[in-house]
Symmetry: C2
């Protein structure tokens, strides 16, 4: 449908993009946070189940609520980032399927098994996490995704009274490449893939 | 670091991109399959753990091995697709960490707990699945991702003698939009996000 995107665009979303630990003193506007979501929500999920739920932690007061749940190595970079997204997934995602997938009014019945529902929410919520990172980069932002935090603590603090569970965190802003080393290696095609 | 990518590029990877069920009779070259991986592997994973492993099912013989494990509704579209990627994740991903994350030679010791290792492989392998879909679209291809198949059967057929587990499937090719309806709705920012 579309020709390949430009080399500049490939550089922005993949080739030149890096995980940042240091941030320029430049805020990210609320409109830009909404623009990230407006793109990422278009990415495909299984039966359009769309389980990702996001809290954008921006204010100093909200950052202070997040701080005690971070691994020590993630505190400084998170407190100095213009915004931190808590990417979560909703275990009750199936409740929205009559709206999200109107072709099958009973689609939600397939997820009555809580083990299956958790698996689908975690898989598709993580896929949407990938779309989130790419969407932010596509909009000219830099990302710093992290898994090093107390999920249960974050859930109690930010997702009480719901069945949303935190998946990972992602700092967002305009990165400062000071002290950044070269990119770590990746597995070759031969190591990670086969074509049959 | 980079300005926002062009509207054309945003259209290609998000706004105009759709999940396809029908395919033009036009092959996908081996070089293009390698190009997808060459981009997607650059996306960030936790501690660069890079657990995704991919089998590109291209030949008729390989498609026949996949066919009996597909849900009925996924057979025709998969058999007619130029290629089908089995996106998997390696439960033994930690074995590669001395290469992937040389800054911490003992990083792999953190994943001795098999429950944690599975969680990390599934989360990051799914993130990489998101990068895969965006990379394919960025290269001018269309995708048809699917969860409807027998994971255990695919694992026996394609990942025997390894600890790689299938995650989801993704048909790849040049889509034919015949019979395609409008895109299903998505949750609004207010429904899925909060800014604090």
């Amino acid at each position: 449908m579309h020709p390949p995107i430009s080399d500049d665009a490939l550089d922005a979303i993949f080739r030149d993009a890096r995980t940042f630990r240091r941030w320029q003193d430049k805020p990210v506007s609320p409109a830009l946070l909404m623009a990230i979501y407006d793109l990422m929500r278009l990415g495909p999920t299984s039966g359009n189940c769309s389980p990702a739920r996001i809290v954008f932690v921006v204010s100093h007061a909200a950052k202070e609520r997040l701080k005690p749940h971070l691994n020590q190595g993630n505190v400084e970079k998170t407190m100095s980032a213009p915004a931190t997204a808590i990417i979560g997934f909703d275990l009750d995602f199936a409740e929205r399927l009559p709206f999200l997938f109107p072709q099958q009014p009973n689609a939600k019945d397939a997820y009555k098994d809580p083990v299956l529902a958790e698996r689908v929410a975690f898989r598709n919520g993580s896929l949407q996490g990938g779309y989130f990172i790419i969407a932010a980069r596509a909009l000219g932002l830099d990302c710093g995704p992290m898994s090093g935090f107390d999920n249960a603590g974050v859930d109690r603090e930010f997702f009480a009274d719901s069945r949303i569970r935190s998946n990972f965190l992602c700092n967002i802003g305009y990165g400062d490449p000071v002290d950044m080393g070269p990119r770590n290696p990746r597995l070759s095609f031969e190591e990670a893939c086969r074509a049959l």
